[in-house]
Symmetry: D4
Subunit: 135 residues, 8 copies
């Protein structure tokens, strides 16, 4: 069993949270939006409403003891970078973050994020591939 903290539970973060909790992992979900916290609360181990860039609050949640951190924040790119940085600073061994584009991904890498994923690009490429391999 791994200890996973997910910051930002929109569509992306929610899918990961549910899947990992169902596989028996301990999942802490954090979001600034209380409605999202309520919605996911029954499908994760803990769900907490907290400011993404408030280091103190995140420390109180004991984030330094988690194995994996996932950044699902999509709209506010600064918060996405800041939350990634706070997790790495608290020595979370493996941090995965969602990036909007190449420039954003480069910034995440500089900050120390271990794995950057690009949903729009990945799925877009797959769609293109299916089309031209269809000949």
């Amino acid at each position: 069993m791994k200890h996973i903290v997910i910051i930002g539970v929109g569509r992306f973060g929610t899918v990961i949270a549910k899947d990992l909790y169902q596989k028996g992992h301990e999942v802490l979900a954090i979001d600034q939006d209380n409605e999202r916290v309520q919605k996911i609360s029954s499908q994760v181990t803990y769900a907490v409403q907290s400011n993404f860039t408030d280091t103190k609050s995140l420390e109180t949640l004991g984030i330094n003891e988690f194995d994996i951190g996932i950044i699902g924040i999509g709209k506010n790119l600064y918060d996405n970078l800041a939350a990634s940085h706070i997790l790495k600073k608290h020595n979370i061994p493996y941090v995965i973050a969602k990036a909007k584009d190449k420039l954003h991904g480069e910034l995440l890498k500089k900050i120390g994020v271990d794995k950057v994923v690009y949903p729009e690009k990945t799925v877009g490429s797959k769609v293109a591939e299916e089309i031209y391999s269809d000949e």
Copy 2:
């Protein structure tokens, strides 16, 4: 060579547009935002600024003669549905659309979209899978 029309060239639509154009397909890119049209213009066959839900304008572009339609509209879900409908109504044989969530995907299916993709969900599931298969 296929004739492909892409409505909405944000990150998702852009990746598809570039990939298919490089493989030798004819690609028409349409967006409401002129800046996006300018940016993609050198990487597709044609790039046009047009209102997504203006049936007349889309007809003028001859959309009924395309083989494949791709809906990359992400922010305005009504426009996403309306553009999908207009393409199917003009007898485009194969229409692919990006959906935000399950409910949105169901609506796209009802409208006649041939393939619905969910970038956030697909990539989120893959991230979760890599974590629990890593044991």
Copy 3:
């Protein structure tokens, strides 16, 4: 006595709700805006504040047991389509929805709505008719 659910009680939904309740029908009024719910509560059987696109909440209200569904949502066209879809999916035999224009009406038809009404167009046509038949 019929069981009628009305989603969205602005001017249009309110007129229908009041008229049917006064004729002895059972009327459930649903709106996202609590002020509207308060205002109509004494003139319908039940009035409930709920998110239009939250399938779970609508199921809790037992919407699958109603005979007729009316969609009065006007501003957010996506919510108008999504609520229409949810009602048809829960097997409500007869669903009536208000459409903004022809394109919107076509989408409602595709989704399975049984009757589409166009207040602006209907009353506009009547005004025009009265003018030219006045000669």
Copy 4:
């Protein structure tokens, strides 16, 4: 042939404008939004972009020589009232205006509007009637 001025060509004003122009009447369409003016220009006698409450501009258009005035302004209720007033002040014999609700309709009557129509209420009542007369 009558001379008709229509102020505000959204859905409601547009339907009336088209219908009357096709029946051979002279129709002047006025809107603040240039896109709407462009869109209707080929279906009316004249289409002009003008501020609704600018008495001077409306006078320049010779509004005092029209037989019938129609107020299709929907969003800004003050503009709806002000335009109605300006038409009556310039002695247009018959002015028809669209009202949002009862209170709005009372204000239009006080200002001298000859006929007030309520699209949402009229069509809502008809929908209710069809339901209970269906037994």
Copy 5:
């Protein structure tokens, strides 16, 4: 002692409310903004938070028994007109309203307002007068 109702207690309404209450009149102050209601509460007979255009609420306050009504609403011109109309409809013998400009003043007159005042114009004229009479 007169019974005076003041709808809208910004700067204009507040000055009138205070002056009349100090002279021994009964003053009812109504505003949509609760902060304004709190602020004036100790300087009038009654202060109530209520929606300007909600006829029912205004009736509950017994507005039909007042001698004088004053409309101090400045920002929302429709609410200014609607509140003026509601007071006249409830037979308040003398209604005074603040107007933004000439067109607005004409509308107030049509609605039946007994006296229209124009703060900006009145004080502007006085300033101009003092300048040219100073020679």
Copy 6:
């Protein structure tokens, strides 16, 4: 003949500008909003579109050679204070400014404004006075 500069030509500034120009004075009207500048241009000696707080631009207009300065700026209180200051700094002998309330008036006095007027308060007091002197 006096040389008068009026900064901010809303209702208040416009009344003063017109009155003084008709009496034969030289009037320079300045506003940030080009539509207002157009509207007043035929009724003053000069009308110029300029930023209120841009000292350089105001100097270019030769404001130091005017006899009287009038500040009609109403919405942005900082711009009202800044423009007042710039006029006094350029040695205009007599500056009149419109204030929102007592606190604002005190600030204008500190800055050196020669005369402060309070339209809302002045006209409000007059309305109150007419009511209680009516007994």
Copy 7:
């Protein structure tokens, strides 16, 4: 020990508040934003949520008995000027205020502020100096 009141505890006001409190001074921190008040409450003598321009509220806090007043308000320049004025009016011997630019600084001086600081300009100049003295 000095008695210091700090109005506006963003970054600038916060640094001053903390430093002075740690040196043993009595520090009263005032802000309109309750979150900021909560955040600083454990690092100052008193922290109070209050409107910057509400003279009454500031008087209730006994601001006239303080030795030094510091204005840290940054976004709303009118509030910055008004709070400065209220402190000087209540005879605080020494008032320091943060200014955005030269014009703003001149206004603060006119109002009677004893010392004006320009963070952006001061630190910008230092950066420039370090660069050209580096040769």
Copy 8:
């Protein structure tokens, strides 16, 4: 003579730009806002309007040949980080950036910025110091 590029010419960037240009350095000023570009154009070597995060545009300006880069962007923290990253990526030897707070400064350091300055904190500390050293 050094070659200096300044991205973001608000108060902070402007002070640096002017000072260095007056000392004989070559200064390129870049801002997204055309008004700011116009304003500074006569006080620097070159002034260009460009998107902060558009790598292509910045490359076209030859930013890789500058000795020093200064990031004056204040409002949009993501743009501040992205522009810093682009300069370091193009091998500018020395990059200085303005930070809002400690967290922001840490992110800039991770990205490779050579010197981070904190105007609000620096000047705030100096104000505090002057107060307690005054005893």
